[in-house]
């Protein structure tokens, strides 16, 4: 007896064959689970993750949920930051109702007093002979602040990595990072995959769902995903009018991404190692996430899109379709990233997908992520953004607009793709230089490549 619900899709190609082609229900959770003890959760616990804008934390504790764990964050009266398991180890009262002390926090119920590192300072109702203080601790995690964001490390305390300090904040000189935090009711992997999918910029943001990016994005690009030391570039190369336009986003495992702005009108030559958004896709739990980080306000980004720091904040970013706060029928008429990603499902059903050639970035990310998770299971430390000789972690997100040589036939899309790849990878080749020097070196390299056309990139 046949059971249509058990059939895999794509076998029956008759019209009106919905009965025979129902989506296979997915139980795929290896890369999506984030909770304690899960393979993916253990891997993610080898990294620092942002979880709150520092200015959100005022005098009272805030309950937070991160990697499937209920926690409470507070700043004690001495300025110390604490991130503790939310429920008091005594009888389980939530420490969001704790009283912040000069040092640490005191549970409201029986006054148990915990330091920011979880050590028990006092159990006032217990006899002086009580050993509770030395025998138990409240679960606590390391917490640091950088660029207006609070970061947590929730992994083994004997394997604490450096908090990565990225080079993207330094260039150009007038750069002003402004933090933001957006809640998205879906699994974190979907948010990363959206960034590893540059063809959606053409369709969702230009051709199908409204002119959200500049008109240059209506030109279908050549895609490429060259690997970088800690991940890969999700890049698109287009011939727009008289120019070649290369746009490359950083995908750095596990959940770091950087993206140029989508407003470049491709009207003049430029080379910019200058992301518009630096962001992390942060798992709240399996079915909820934040994407958060900072926007780069500077003369480069503001030259194509006017922005102010007031445009960014909690659930606030000046780009259509990033929240569920829009009227439903407007979202239907001009859907954005939020609508595309959230409606894949709280955890996308990957077994029912039909991937195409433009999904190479998505596939590459899944493979890299799965390998990193397996490595972690086998006790192999995953690669991490490291600081070398006090320099910052190198990143590669960039845009290049260069005048195309006259008289060259660009119908050879492969040549265009190779040009884009070579130009983009020159940012990796020169990554021993400062961001400004890298821009200068890449500008020269790209011009040399143009001069060598049609011989093309070596």
């Amino acid at each position: 007896m046949s059971d249509s619900s058990q059939k895999s899709s794509t076998k029956d190609t008759r019209p009106y064959s919905g009965y025979h082609n129902r989506p296979v229900q997915s139980s795929e959770d290896f890369i999506t689970q984030v909770g304690p003890g899960t393979p993916g959760g253990e891997y993610l616990r080898r990294y620092w993750h942002p979880f709150l804008i520092a200015s959100e934390l005022k005098e009272l504790p805030i309950p937070v949920r991160l990697l499937g764990e209920d926690l409470v964050v507070f700043r004690d009266l001495s300025g110390g930051l604490g991130l503790l398991h939310r429920h008091c180890i005594h009888r389980g009262t939530s420490l969001e109702y704790g009283i912040v002390a000069n040092k640490g926090i005191r549970c409201c119920y029986h006054g148990w007093h915990f330091d920011v590192d979880g050590r028990v300072i006092d159990t006032p109702a217990e006899p002086l002979s009580s050993k509770i203080k030395v025998n138990f601790v409240q679960g606590a995690y390391l917490i640091k602040e950088w660029m207006g964001l609070l970061f947590a490390y929730m992994g083994p305390v004997d394997k604490v990595p450096e908090l990565p300090i990225y080079d993207c904040v330094d260039n150009p000189e007038d750069n002003q990072p402004v933090p933001f935090r957006m809640q998205v009711p879906c699994n974190w992997v979907q948010i990363v995959e959206n960034g590893a999918d540059p063809i959606h910029n053409a369709y969702l943001h230009a051709i199908v769902a409204g002119q959200q990016f500049s008109e240059a994005f209506r030109v279908l690009p050549q895609l490429d995903f060259p690997e970088t030391p800690l991940g890969f570039l999700s890049m698109a190369t287009r011939k727009v009018g008289d120019y070649i336009f290369i746009r490359a986003s950083d995908i750095i495992l596990p959940n770091f991404g950087q993206f140029p702005n989508g407003a470049n009108r491709v009207e003049k030559q430029s080379v910019g190692l200058r992301p518009f958004l630096t962001r992390w896709s942060v798992p709240v739990d399996d079915q909820n996430s934040f994407y958060m980080g900072f926007a780069h306000l500077n003369s480069y980004n503001s030259s194509v899109r006017k922005m102010s720091k007031e445009d960014f904040g909690v659930d606030r970013i000046p780009f259509i379709g990033q929240t569920g706060d829009r009227p439903y029928f407007e979202r239907q008429r001009e859907p954005g990233d939020y609508d595309a990603v959230v409606t894949q499902g709280a955890v996308a059903n990957r077994k029912s997908e039909h991937l195409g050639t433009t999904d190479r970035g998505v596939v590459l990310f899944r493979r890299m992520l799965a390998k990193a998770i397996r490595d972690t299971q086998e006790g192999i430390q995953p690669e991490k953004p490291m600081l070398y000789s006090n320099s910052k972690v190198k990143t590669y997100c960039h845009e290049i607009v260069v005048k195309a040589p006259a008289g060259v036939d660009f119908s050879d899309s492969q040549k265009l793709a190779e040009f884009g790849r070579s130009a983009a990878l020159s940012f990796v080749e020169f990554d021993h230089l400062s961001p400004k020097e890298r821009e200068e070196s890449v500008t020269k390299r790209v011009q040399d490549m143009i001069n060598a056309w049609p011989v093309g990139p070596k």
């Binding site: 259509i320 706060d325 009227p327 407007e330 008429r333």
Partner: protein
């Protein structure tokens, strides 16, 4: 005309039963009323609403200015504002953070803010204003 249905101590459904896009401040003697002002684009209501509660608040104030100028009124003549917020717990603090930007910190305006279940056009915010005829 604005209809209110009290569902609980905290939740009120607002039915805007008159023209959705009010374009006039109605005076009764010396007191004017402008109810149900939405963050629409007055010149083209089909334009999408701004996405954030902050931008929707600013759009309402732009609409207010436009309607007041039409009747030769000034911001200083505003006596009271009643603010209706969808998803009160998410948006109240964010609205209050920009309240002085919207209404000024010098001018004394009677203000209250109410949480509602839904608003016309699925807006996040709507405002009623009371305006005196003369300074």
């Amino acid at each position: 005309m604005l209809g209110l249905l009290v569902l609980s101590n905290f939740l009120i459904v607002v039915f805007n039963m008159s023209n959705l896009f009010l374009e006039k401040i109605v005076f009764a003697g010396e007191v004017g009323f402008l109810n149900g002002l939405l963050p629409i684009n007055l010149s083209d209501p089909k334009v999408f609403l701004p996405e954030s509660v902050e931008e929707q608040s600013r759009q309402i104030m732009r609409n207010l200015d436009e309607l007041m100028i039409r009747q030769s009124l000034k911001r200083e003549q505003i006596v009271a504002v009643q603010v209706f917020l969808k998803d009160f717990h998410r948006f109240y603090a964010r609205f209050e953070a920009i309240a002085s930007e919207l209404f000024g910190s010098e001018i004394s305006i009677s203000k209250n803010v109410v949480g509602v279940v839904a608003l016309p056009r699925d807006a996040l915010i709507s405002m009623n204003f009371v305006i005196r005829a003369n300074l």
